[in-house]
């Protein structure tokens, strides 16, 4: 294995990404970078749950849970719907953002490392 590329040193193109996509991705990454939101996300991965139930399972206030859920919703990772007087959250059925976020990073890393490999002064050119 070659050494990994220096973070930030590789001038890869961030792609065709109109800023809307790029900011959407950053939003998703930020949303899942927080442990509380990740826990919420994992609970919702098991099944849809109302806010109250989520709040009972987390050591934070209900209003804090609502705030976290709002951020997850803005990131496009969860959706909500009213059910009687409750509000039920579930993972977004269109939730491709997480997969996109993974692939975005995967290809960035791959291309950066590829650039390093291909520009090595004929270390392995025969």
């Amino acid at each position: 294995m070659r050494a990994p590329p220096r973070r930030g040193a590789a001038p890869w193109d961030l792609g065709a990404g109109p800023s809307r996509n790029a900011s959407g991705l950053r939003l998703s990454l930020a949303a899942l970078a927080d442990p509380t939101r990740r826990t919420l996300f994992e609970l919702l991965a098991e099944r849809p749950r109302p806010v109250g139930e989520l709040a009972r399972r987390l050591p934070v206030s209900r209003s804090a849970v609502s705030q976290h859920l709002r951020l997850l919703k803005e990131a496009g990772l969860v959706v909500d719907r009213p059910e009687g007087t409750r509000r039920v959250y579930q993972l977004s059925p269109e939730g491709l953002d997480a997969l996109r976020a993974y692939l975005d990073q995967f290809w960035s890393k791959t291309l950066a490392a590829y650039k390093t490999a291909v520009e090595q002064p004929s270390a392995d050119s025969e």
Partner: protein, 159 residues
């Protein structure tokens, strides 16, 4: 405001100081040397990653215990200009055997000057993995936590 429409493709490009023929050769023959190490579905460490240079071939990881993971299939192999491969990994981080539920990634090599090549990757049709999201939504699948862990690991490495 409530509906966030996700794009179903990811595009990346890089310009490398290399002849187009070398750019293509390194990309295919040395793929395992620059593919992120954390991209691994095997239970063990990867001993090598093989890129079979022909249509119908596979990109696969071979683990140190001999196990294999064939996670991409070569759909077009056109040196030194183009590659098209499937992405046979489901959102549950498992090998997808139904070709209708795989996405695809195309790699294009374009000579900008004699010694400079642009390499573009478009990973598209992510929506084909949609079945997985529905099963996740229905709560019948336990793959998400693993997937999330991978995702979180990546995030941790990024910071």
């Amino acid at each position: 405001m409530s509906t966030h429409v996700a794009s179903t493709s990811v595009k990346k490009s890089v310009v490398v100081e290399a002849l187009i023929a070398r750019a293509f050769k390194v990309f295919t023959e040395d793929f395992g040397s620059f593919k992120p190490a954390e991209h691994n579905l095997l239970a063990v460490a990867i001993a090598e990653t093989v890129f079979e240079p022909r249509v119908g071939g596979y990109v696969y990881d071979r683990g140190v215990d001999g196990s294999e993971c064939r996670w991409a299939r070569v759909l077009a192999y056109e040196p030194p200009n183009r590659l098209l491969l499937s992405w046979n990994i489901s959102p549950q981080w498992r090998i997808e055997i139904d070709p209708d539920k795989t996405s695809e990634w195309e790699v294009r090599f374009t000579a900008e000057t004699a010694n400079r090549t642009r390499v573009e990757i478009e990973h598209r049709n992510l929506g084909r993995h949609g079945e997985g999201w529905e099963s996740v939504r229905d709560g019948v699948d336990q793959g998400w936590p693993l997937y999330l862990q991978r995702f979180a690991d990546l995030l941790a490495q990024e910071t």
